[in-house]
Structure formats: structure tokens, C-alpha cells
């Protein structure tokens, strides 16, 4: 009997996006629940047997009741099985979002039969009348030193059942950055435990470890720098032992991009704009972290400022990091402000300070010059 699973993880519901202020942050927050609904929709469309969620459903155990209820509500549009394990963000502690979910359900009509919170270690879940066995690695604390999937190797399940492992942690060999990370998972676990599929969570990008072992990644990107997030995996297993088919289905709404751009002249600004246009057909779905470098004169800086102001309005979110962009006034800039008189004298005094590496107010002097230039431009344009 073939089994179709939707593998997803790291929903991080309740995440607040501290670095994305204002409406953009609120939109990102709200979108995460919407994306869960999208996952349910995909599962429905694919007629999946179950959605397996490999941990970190919630950003923290201490999410608000409202978030918890919204999440449970979002599950309702898929009537197949929902299988959850805790992750390092929402471990099955003595008191956790999971125990509270139990209370929420208890306060309603009881927990629906298709929603499974796997919170007890080393207890397989049998679905499809025993045709599908889910082996959970249950995190009962945030960080485990031992490999919680070790018991998969000896887990007893009914014969003929599809054997699927569900775990949250780091396959260290494949995640160099996580070599010191806790919650280790042995790289060959699918093989040693005879798993048809090992559904992993924790890594926010979609990542294949081997034919039977995948990180689904977060369905809705939540940070700059994640590699290939925004997907769920549709996993098809025809029969026990058969190699699984894994299909990557994009569901994420927002596109997060970070890059560095050097500005040395007006053409660089044009090129930057072209690049921004190419990133996403809908700029309202695009979040950009733009690190500017280079040396520009005031005139060019003014231009860059104007252009980026336009992009700031157009994009969902633009984070400009221009510490490495040096605004250096040219003689023309300064002449433009004034060629003589006290204004020019002030300009020269400020320039001297801005260029003096020992001046503690060097940056302030530079900022002051820029402002003066801007005022000058404003007055010029007003008089035109």
C-alpha cells in the first residue's frame, strides 16, 4: 500500500521578527499562519495520508494562546493525519505548548483523532491501520547530547508497515555550521534503522541528506541567508523498502534576499535597480538586506538616496546597511553649496573634521556635511 506524506518543519509560529520593524514585521508574522493553511491545502490537493511536521512548530513554548488556537484552527482544512514532534524551540518539557494544546482541545470537544502530538519517547505511532509506522525522536529538553533516533534501529513495528522516522536535530556531517550543535542525528540513520523515509527538521532550507533522508526546511522563510527555504516536500512511498519519491513544492509567500552592492558611479545605481527588479516579480513579496559599499560624492549620494527611497516604498522591506558606503564630498559638491562666504568656510571646517581620522566627531561632521548638501539641493530645487 503506497503512502503519501507531506513533510514540513520549522514553522516557527509566533516569531516576532525583531529586525523587521513596522508593518512589514506584522505581515511576516501573520503570514506564517496563512502558510500553514497553504500546507494544509497542498496536503488536501495531494491527497496525502499525513502531514509530518519535524519539530519547531512554534517559535517558543511560551506562545500566546491566540497563536496556539490559530494554529490548531489552521489544521482543520486537512482531514488526514497531522503528526507533530517537538523541536528545540518547543521541546516537550513538563509544561509546554503541547501540554497547553492538550488543554485547549480539552476545553473544546477534545483532541481530534487526526492530530497526533508525539511527546513520549520511543513510542511508535501506527497509522493507516498499521500500514504506516511513525517513529518519533522526542525532544524532552531543548538540547540533547545523545542521538534520540538511536532507538529507531531497534524499534519494533508491524510487519509490512512503511517505516518512517521523524526527528529534529543536526546531521553534523552535512551541516558544517552545526558541527557543535546539540541534538545530533547519525548520518546513516535511515539505513541502520531500515527507514523508508527519515523526515528531519531544524535546518531552515530544504536539504537532501540521502535518498531517504531530507530536511524539509521552513515553508515560510523567516530570515536572511537561509538557503532554499519556502518549500514543503511531497513524499511518496509505494511500499516498504521502495525508494521514496520526493517532490519539492514551494509554498512560501515572501522572498528574502541579502546581497552586497558596490556604488562608484551612476551606472552602479542603475544596475542595482535592475537587480532588484529581477529578484521577484512582485516587489511587495520581497525583503532585501542591501549592504552598500563604495565611495560616492554627495551628488551621487543624493541620487542614491532618492532611488532607494522609492524602492523602500515599493518593497515589503528594505534594510540598507551603508556603513561601508563612504559619502565623500567632491569639490563640485562643495562649490555647489557655496564657492565663498561663510557657508564655504563652514563647509571647509566640516570637511577637515570629516577627513581627520583622529576627530571623534568625524562621522557627525560627515553627516553634517551631507545634510548641508541636502539642504542646498532642496533650496536649489525650490528656487527652480
Amino acid at each position: 500500500m503506497s503512502v503519501t506524506l507531506i513533510h514540513t518543519s520549522d514553522w516557527q509560529l509566533g516569531k516576532q521578527f525583531a529586525n523587521v520593524p513596522g508593518d512589514a514585521g506584522a505581515a511576516l508574522r501573520d503570514q506564517r499562519i496563512e502558510t500553514v493553511k497553504d500546507v494544509a491545502k497542498v496536503a488536501r490537493e495531494r491527497r496525502a495520508d499525513a502531514v509530518v511536521v519535524s519539530g519547531d512548530v512554534f517559535e517558543t513554548n511560551a506562545v500566546a494562546d491566540r497563536t496556539l488556537r490559530q494554529t490548531l484552527d489552521a489544521l482543520e482544512s486537512f482531514e488526514g493525519d497531522w503528526v507533530f514532534i517537538p523541536g528545540n524551540h518547543d521541546p516537550a518539557l513538563a509544561d509546554s505548548v503541547w501540554s497547553r494544546a492538550g488543554h485547549v482541545y480539552a476545553g473544546q470537544d477534545g483532541k481530534p483523532g487526526n492530530v497526533h502530538f508525539l511527546l513520549k519517547p520511543e513510542q511508535p505511532l501506527l497509522l493507516k491501520d498499521g500500514a504506516l509506522a511513525i517513529l518519533p525522536a522526542v525532544l524532552e529538553r531543548r538540547h540533547e547530547v545523545d542521538d534520540l533516533t538511536a532507538w529507531f534501529d531497534r524499534a519494533q513495528i508491524p510487519a509490512g508497515a512503511v517505516r518512517v522516522g521523524l526527528a529534529h536535530g543536526s546531521v553534523r556531517e552535512f551541516l558544517p555550521a552545526a558541527s557543535e550543535a546539540p541534538n545530533p542525528i547519525a548520518a546513516g540513520r535511515a539505513g541502520t534503522a531500515g527507514l523508508d523515509y527519515l523526515a528531519l527538521g531544524d535546518w531552515h532550507g530544504t536539504l537532501r541528506i540521502d535518498d531517504r533522508t531530507w530536511y524539509a526546511g521552513t515553508p515560510e522563510t523567516d530570515r536572511f541567508g537561509s538557503s532554499d527555504p519556502g518549500n514543503v516536500l511531497a513524499v511518496g512511498i509505494d511500499r516498504p523498502g521502495a525508494p521514496p519519491s520526493v517532490e519539492l513544492i514551494p509554498v512560501g509567500r515572501y522572498v528574502w534576499r541579502e546581497f552586497e552592492w558596490a556604488i562608484h558611479g551612476a551606472p552602479d545605481i542603475d544596475a542595482l535597480e535592475r537587480h532588484l527588479e529581477s529578484l521577484c516579480p512582485d516587489p511587495a513579496r520581497l525583503l532585501v538586506r542591501l549592504k552598500l559599499t563604495g565611495v560616492v560624492d554627495f551628488a551621487l549620494h543624493e541620487k542614491l538616496r532618492d532611488r532607494l527611497a522609492a524602492w523602500d516604498a515599493r518593497l515589503r522591506y528594505l534594510r540598507r546597511e551603508d556603513e561601508a558606503l563612504v559619502a565623500q564630498p567632491s569639490d563640485d559638491d562643495l562649490d555647489g553649496i557655496d564657492r565663498g562666504g561663510f557657508v564655504r568656510a563652514a563647509v571647509e571646517a566640516l570637511r577637515a573634521r570629516a577627513e581627520d581620522p583622529h576627530d571623534a566627531e568625524r562621522e557627525i561632521a560627515r553627516a553634517a556635511l551631507l545634510r548641508l548638501y541636502h539642504e542646498h539641493v532642496r533650496m536649489e530645487s525650490a528656487s527652480c
Binding site: A18, A64, L93, D95, R100, G340, F342, A346, A367
Partner: protein, 888 residues
């Protein structure tokens, strides 16, 4: 610019015409009385140079003399640089303008255009030229009554001055643009800072918001951290509770307790047996103790009776001895008493004898003393009588030493005067014939010696006759008179004292002295015998007689001799001393006997009492012992002691056996184990209960806290904190940048002002020093208007100064600006229409000096009606009245 000639016809007052010619460089005074048209002259000059020739309307009408329809004409000859120009303008009728130089001429509009070029002014679009249209003249030509007003430079003058200044210091001010920029920057600055440089609400609120967000975030993080810790605690509690279950810890503890309780029960039973045995043992010991005590009392009583009997016997013996001693002592005492009485009687007798002997001795001594005193009295009385006689004899001689000396002195003076008379007397020496003699006053003279005649003397020379001799000279008479006077005086003194001569007086005095000495000697003798006086001596004799009478009643018995009396007294004293010694001995003996007798009697009484007590005690003890023995005999009592002792030993042995059994059970261990097991069980139960309760409480608490979504709140707060922090950073940088920009611009502007006005200050200061020493004039660098006069650190606004000061300062400023403009090649001439009417004489003189100084470089024309005053300046004066043209 140098104005050479002005000719005016048909212009306002000057209907007849006036020509001022031959104007020179330097200072020229054009004097005219009021209404003579000197101000009109300035108006004509302004009209010629600045008004359009084809001016019409009211302005043109104003040029016409009242009620005339003539053609006002004005000619002005002037020089600019090296070029001489002649300007002729006619208004109203056939208006025209013509400007000629030596080699060119310009007509009408081109003439006026050329004038504009030369003088640098901006004519009005239409209408008459006003101050602002007259270029530099607007500044330098001062109309009557306006000298004290602010300069109000027109645009052309300002530009010219700016150009002149810029020619020296370059462009330093920022102009309109700079001011606008600074104003804009100031506006930005003011969004963040108050006038006094304090932060405004925008910054303060951002800072407060950042701090608040941070505090709130930390608070929430604390709460979340507490929540996490509580979750961990719950986890631990649950694990602990599970461990209790899985290890059966409680059941084990309960098993231990039961075992310990059983052992403890056994121990308790044994200890009950021991307690019973110990109680029995104590009873046996009490019984033994009782009979032993009885037996001991019996023996003690017997011993006591024996001792009392012995004591009574001893006391009886002692009493007998004492009784005898008491009788002996009483006998001795009586004997001593008799002895004492005898001795006392003997002593009294001896004492009365001695007193009698003493009285007799005293009487003998008084009798002796009386005899002596009586003898002295008689002797003294005799001497006293002698003294009385001598005093009487001496009193009869009446001359004393002083008087005698006076007599002697007078006699001596008489002798000396007589000798002197002798010396001057006439000496007659006679050598008569035998038997012949000489007689004087019938008496014969001894002729063997010379005869001195001191007065007229009649000598009878026997045998011859009479010879009258008269000694010559006044001196003999005087001396003689003196001698006679002295002789008379001496004789009188002697006669008064009844002496014949001085010798007799002296003898009498010597006798008197002798008597007095004898009296003195007798008195000394008397004093030796009766030092206290004769009367006292008499009293002493009487006193002794009374003493003697007092010594005895029988005066008939003559007193014995002193020696005898002394001997009798010594004997009596010796006898008395002996009797006293004997009496003393007897008293001492009596005392000893008395004491002995008392002591023995006291002891006798004591022993007698003691004897009675012993007897009573003996009797009591004997009765008691008899009674006790009647109840229990001594032998029975002794047997009862032995029986009780054996019973006690048996009980002790039984107790020993039980105690050894108990020791073998290690009772401390048994009890310790019971305590431990009981406590362990109870503690464990408590702990489990507590853990369960805590876990339940924690679950409830965590469920409540969990619902609040602390994690999300923290996330949100962190976001807000970040936003607030970034906003604060942005605002702070923005504020600092605007502040720095504003400060830098202001400082630059301040420096620029200082630099810009330097050329003006440089030229103005020497003029100012003449009238207002140690002051500075502050000018507005934009309008170049006079702002204030600075004295020390105080700025006085120009408008607050007196009219006189304003007038003077404004003229000086014009002189300075004229200097500057002239140096930069501008056509400059100064015309002042009665500009110094408010000066006192001193100021006027100083202003005159300043004007003369300025006129060395710039032509200055002064229009005035105070000719006399200006004559003091030594300037060339032109009287307007002399310049009138004859009417055409």
C-alpha cells in the same frame, strides 16, 4: 567727483537764478540765510543729476517757482577722474538734457544713460528720483534735518560698498543664500534643541522610549526566564516523583521502620523488667537503711548517756574547788579593805601638817621683805628732803645761762668801744714839777701815766692855772656817746638782776649750776632705791604689813626665821609623800583582791549552772534508753539489721542480671535506628507530598503563564526595543549633525562678519576717536546700517543715542564710507545741508577737524545758515546772496 559749478534758473525759489562757480576740492561752505534757497540748491543738483529731463506731473510741477510757467534749468560742471563734464538740463518746456565732456557730448536719453554709468545709480521706472535712486549721493548728500537718521543705504550704495569691501577682504559673507541656508539649518537644529541647547521633546521622548522598551524587554525576559526555570523545576519534580515510584523508596523506608519498631518493643519490655527490679531493690535498701538507722540511734543514745555522766562528775569536782577558792578570795579582800582605810587616814594627817609648815614659811619670808622695804623707805624719804632744799636754793639764783651770755656780750662790746674811744681821745702826758699836780673836777690826777681826754675837760694845773682841753673831732663825741649808751645799758641789766658786776653775775650762775647737778645726783639715787616712786614704796610697805597680818591671827607670835620654817616644811613634805605611797600601795592591793574575788564568783556561778544541766540531761537520756529497750532489745535490733542486709543483696543480683541482658541488646542502636527509620519515612512522605503539591501548583501556574505568550511578547518587545534603539540612534546622529552644522555655520558667519566689516572699521575708527574716544561703532554687515555704539562692553543702540550724537556719528560714518568708496575709484562728493546743528561748540570744533581731514581727499560742500560758526573751520565760504544772477 569734484563739482565745479552749479547754475540754477527758474527752479523753485531760484526764479532769478543763482550761479555758484569756482568750486574747489576740499571744504567749501555755502552760506545763506533761511529761505534764501540753499536747500533748493541741493534739490536742484539732485534733479539735474538724477531726475529724468522729461519728468512730468506733480514732481515736475514741484520744480517750478510758485505761480510760474517757466523752464527750470540747471547746469552742473563736474569732474570724474581726469574728465570734466558739463551737464545742462532743462525741464518742463522743451525739456532737454545735454552732457558734454572735452571731446564728446551726449543728448537727452543718452546723456542720462551716460550719467547713470558715471555715477552708478538706478533711476526709477517713472516719477521723480528718490533716495534709493540716487546711488552714492543717496548716502553722501544729506538733506536738511535728516543727518541724525539712520543711513538707510540704497541698493546701489550697498552694492558699491560691498564691492569695495570685497575688493579688500574677498567675499566673506554668505549673502542671502548663506542666510537662508543657516536659517534652514537652524530650523532643523531647533527641532532637537532649545534656545539654551537643551534637548527637546523629540530626542527626550526617543531616549525615554528606548529606555522604556529596554526596561520592558528586560522585565519580560526576566519573566520568561523565570517561566523557563519553573518549567525546568516542574520537570525535575516530575522525574523525582517518578523515581520514588520506580525505586520503591517509600516501601523500603516503611519496612525499615517496622523492623526498628519491633526491636524497640523488645527493648522496652526488658527495660520495664529492669525498672521493676530496680524499684524492689530500692525498697530493700530503704528497709535496710531504716533498721540500720534505728540500731545506730540506740548505740548513740547509750554512748551519749555515758558521756553525760562523765561530764557531770567532772563538773561536781570543779565546783567543789571553786567554792573553796571563793571563800579565800573574800577573806583576802576584806583584809585589803582594812589596810586601805588605815593608809588613807595616815595620808590625810601628813598632808595637813605639810600645809601648816608651808604657811609658816610664807610668814617668815614676808617679815623679812617688810624689814627691807621699811629701811629703803626711810632712806628715800631723807634724800627727797635734801632735793627739796637744793631746789629752793637754786630757785633763788635768778640768772640763767642765756642771760649771762647776753651780759657778757654787752660787757665785751663796752670794752671794745671804750678801747676805740681811747684810741681817738686826746692824750695828755704831764710832767709836772715837783709837787705840782693836776686836778680834774677837784680830783687829783695821777700824772705818771697819760690822761686821755674824750670830752671837754677842765684841768686845773696846780701851779699853773686852768687848762681847758677840748678834744677835737666828731668821731670822739660819737664814740663817747656810744660808750655811755653801752655803759648805761649794762648797768641797767645788772641792776635789774641785783648784781653789781658781770663777774658777780657769773659767780651766782656757777653756784646755781652746782646746785642743779647735786639735785640730779640725788634724784638718781632716789630712783635706784624707789624705782616706782616714793608713794609706791610706801604702798608696798603697807601691803606687806597686811600680808603678814593675814598669815596669822595671832600677831603676837613672832615669826620664826626663814631657814627654820623651810626646814620644818621639807620635813612635813617628806612625811606626806611617804604616807601617799603607802596609801597607793594599799589601793592597788585592794583592787587586785576585788578582781580576784569577782572572777572566782563568776566561775562558781557558771559551774553551778552547768552542774544542774548535766544532771537533767543524764536523767532524760536514762529514761529514754530504758523506754526504747523496753520496746526492742539491743539484740533484736542487731538481728533485724542483718536480715535486711541479706534481702538487699538478693535484689541487687537480680537487677544485675537484667541490666546485662539489656546491654547485650545495644539499646542506643535500637533507639537510633527507630528514630532514623521513623524520620526517614516521615521525611520521605513529606517530601513526596510536597513535591506533588509543588508539581500541581507549578502546572497550574505554568498553564496560566504559558497562555500569556511570554515568548511572543519578548520577541515583540525585542523588536520594539530594536526599533526604539535604531530610532534613537538615528535621531541622536541627526540631532548632533544638525547641531554641529548649525554651530559651524554660525561660527563661520561670525568670523565672516568680523572680517567683512574690517575695512569699514579701519577707516571709521580714526574719525570716531576724535569725538567718541574708546568706543566702537557696530555696523550691520548686511545693510551696513549703524547698529550701536559700544562703550566698553555696553552696546547703546543707535536710536537710543542723543540726536546730537546720532548726527555726529552718522556724518563720521559717511566720511569713512566716502573714504572707502573713493579709494575704490567711486565718484564721491559729500554735501551736508546744515547737518551739524545739534553740536555743542566743542563737538562742533572736533567735527570741523574731522571734516577738514576728510576734505583732504573728498570734496565737501556744506550748506548752512550759520555762516559765522563755520568760519571757525577756516573753510572757503561762498555766500549764496553773492551768487544771484541778474534776472534775464
Amino acid at each position: 567727483m569734484l563739482i565745479r559749478r552749479i547754475a540754477v534758473r527758474n527752479f523753485r525759489k531760484h526764479l532769478a537764478g543763482v550761479v555758484i562757480d569756482g568750486l574747489e576740492p576740499g571744504l567749501t561752505v555755502i552760506a545763506g540765510d533761511n529761505e534764501e534757497g540753499k536747500s533748493t540748491l541741493l534739490k536742484a543738483l539732485q534733479a539735474a543729476l538724477f531726475d529724468r529731463y522729461n519728468l512730468s506731473g506733480k514732481a515736475m510741477g514741484d520744480m517750478l517757482p510758485f505761480g510760474s510757467k517757466v523752464r527750470p534749468e540747471i547746469d552742473v560742471d563736474f569732474e570724474i577722474g581726469q574728465t570734466r563734464y558739463r551737464l545742462k538740463k532743462g525741464f518742463h518746456q522743451s525739456p532737454s538734457a545735454r552732457l558734454e565732456s572735452d571731446d564728446r557730448h551726449w543728448q537727452n536719453d543718452s546723456a542720462e544713460e551716460r550719467l547713470r554709468e558715471l555715477l552708478g545709480f538706478s533711476p526709477p521706472g517713472k516719477g521723480p528720483a528718490k533716495e534709493e535712486h540716487r546711488g552714492l549721493s543717496g548716502l553722501l548728500w544729506v538733506e536738511q534735518g535728516r543727518a541724525f537718521a539712520p543711513l538707510e543705504l540704497n541698493r546701489d550704495t550697498r552694492d558699491a560698498l560691498r564691492e569695495a569691501i570685497a575688493g579688500e577682504v574677498g567675499q566673506v559673507t554668505g549673502g542671502e543664500r548663506g542666510r537662508n541656508l543657516l536659517a534652514a539649518v537652524q530650523k532643523h537644529h531647533d527641532r532637537y534643541y532649545t534656545l539654551t541647547g537643551l534637548e527637546k521633546r523629540a530626542l527626550k521622548e526617543a531616549r525615554a522610549a528606548a529606555e522604556e522598551a529596554n526596561d520592558e524587554c528586560e522585565r519580560l525576559e526576566g519573566e520568561l526566564s523565570h517561566y523557563d526555570a519553573q518549567v525546568d523545576r516542574l520537570e525535575k519534580l516530575k522525574r523525582t516523583l517518578a523515581r520514588y515510584e520506580s525505586t520503591g523508596q517509600l516501601a523500603n523506608a516503611q519496612g525499615d521502620l517496622e523492623k526498628a519498631q519491633k526491636a524497640a518493643k523488645e527493648l522496652e519490655d526488658l527495660e520495664g523488667g529492669i525498672a521493676t527490679a530496680a524499684a524492689e531493690m530500692r525498697t530493700a535498701e530503704s528497709s535496710l537503711e531504716l533498721v540500720r538507722s534505728k540500731w545506730k540511734h540506740r548505740r548513740d543514745d547509750a554512748k551519749r548517756l555515758e558521756a553525760v555522766e562523765a561530764d557531770a562528775r567532772n563538773a561536781e569536782r570543779e565546783f567543789a574547788d571553786l567554792d573553796e577558792a571563793l571563800r579565800a578570795a573574800d577573806t583576802a579582800h576584806e583584809q585589803a579593805d582594812g589596810n586601805l582605810k588605815t593608809a588613807r587616814s595616815a595620808f590625810a594627817s601628813a598632808r595637813s601638817k605639810r600645809l601648816a609648815a608651808q604657811r609658816e614659811l610664807k610668814r617668815a619670808e614676808i617679815a623679812v621683805a617688810l624689814n627691807e622695804l621699811t629701811r629703803k623707805l626711810e632712806q628715800a624719804q631723807k634724800i627727797d628732803a635734801g632735793i627739796a632744799r637744793d631746789r629752793e636754793a637754786a630757785a633763788r639764783i635768778r640768772i640763767d645761762e642765756k642771760e649771762l651770755k647776753a651780759l657778757k656780750k654787752n660787757e665785751s662790746e663796752l670794752d671794745r668801744q671804750e678801747a676805740a674811744l681811747e684810741a681817738v681821745a686826746t692824750t695828755l702826758e704831764f710832767s709836772p714839777d715837783a709837787n705840782q699836780s693836776v686836778r680834774v673836777d677837784g680830783r687829783e690826777l695821777a700824772v705818771d701815766r697819760p690822761y686821755r681826754v674824750t670830752e671837754r675837760t677842765s684841768l686845773e694845773l696846780v701851779g699853773f692855772g686852768r687848762l681847758d682841753v677840748t678834744p677835737g673831732g666828731e668821731d670822739v663825741r660819737t664814740r663817747r656817746a656810744k660808750v655811755e649808751e653801752l655803759q648805761n645799758s649794762l648797768n641797767a641789766d645788772l641792776a635789774q638782776r641785783q648784781y653789781c658786776s658781770v663777774g658777780e653775775a657769773e659767780t651766782a650762775f656757777r653756784q646755781k649750776s652746782q646746785k642743779l647737778k647735786e639735785i640730779e645726783t640725788a634724784e638718781a639715787l632716789l630712783t635706784g632705791i624707789a624705782p616706782a616712786g616714793l608713794e609706791e614704796l610706801r604702798n608696798a610697805v603697807a601691803g606687806r604689813r597686811e600680808d603678814l597680818a593675814a598669815c596669822t591671827s595671832d600677831l603676837t607670835i613672832a615669826p620664826a626665821s626663814v631657814e627654820e620654817a623651810k626646814r620644818a616644811e621639807a620635813e612635813a613634805a617628806s612625811e606626806e609623800a611617804e604616807a601617799e605611797t603607802e596609801q597607793s600601795e594599799a589601793e592597788k592591793e585592794w583592787g587586785i583582791r576585788q578582781k580576784t574575788s569577782s572572777a572566782v564568783r563568776e566561775e562558781w556561778t557558771t559551774v553551778k549552772g552547768s552542774l544542774r544541766l548535766h544532771s537533767q540531761e543524764k536523767e532524760r537520756l536514762a529514761v529514754k534508753l530504758d523506754q526504747d529497750r523496753g520496746i526492742t532489745s539491743d539484740a533484736d535490733l542487731e538481728n533485724a539489721v542483718d536480715a535486711a542486709s541479706r534481702g538487699r543483696d538478693r535484689q541487687a543480683e537480680a537487677l544485675q542480671v537484667l541490666a546485662e541482658r539489656r546491654e547485650r541488646m545495644f539499646p542506643d542502636l535500637v533507639r537510633g535506628e527507630l528514630d532514623r527509620a521513623r524520620e526517614a519515612c516521615s521525611t520521605l512522605k513529606d517530601q513526596i507530598d510536597r513535591d506533588k503539591r509543588q508539581a500541581r501548583d507549578l502546572e497550574i501556574e505554568l498553564r496560566t503563564v504559558g497562555q500569556q505568550g511570554l515568548g511572543e511578547q519578548v520577541g515583540q518587545k525585542r523588536r520594539e526595543r530594536e526599533v526604539a534603539r535604531q530610532e534613537l540612534e538615528r535621531l541622536a546622529l541627526d540631532a548632533k549633525a544638525w547641531k554641529l552644522l548649525r554651530d559651524t555655520l554660525r561660527e563661520a558667519e561670525r568670523k565672516a562678519r568680523e572680517t567683512f566689516l574690517a575695512p569699514v572699521r579701519e577707516r571709521l575708527q580714526p574719525y570716531l576717536e576724535r569725538l567718541f574716544p574708546s568706543t566702537n561703532l557696530l555696523l550691520d554687515e548686511d545693510g551696513l546700517e549703524i547698529k550701536s555704539l559700544r562703550r566698553g562692553t555696553v552696546d547703546e543702540p543707535f536710536t537710543s543715542l542723543s540726536i546730537g550724537a546720532r548726527e555726529q556719528i552718522a556724518v563720521l560714518a559717511r566720511l569713512a564710507l566716502a573714504d572707502l568708496l573713493r579709494e575704490k575709484g567711486r565718484p564721491v562728493a559729500l554735501i551736508l545741508d546744515d547737518a551739524l546743528v545739534n553740536c555743542d561748540d566743542d563737538r562742533f570744533r572736533r567735527m570741523g577737524t574731522a571734516l577738514r581731514h576728510a576734505a583732504e581727499r573728498v570734496q565737501i560742500l556744506i550748506l548752512t545758515c550759520h555762516e559765522a560758526r563755520y568760519q571757525t573751520l577756516g573753510a572757503r565760504t561762498i555766500r549764496l546772496i553773492d551768487c544771484s544772477e541778474p534776472r534775464h
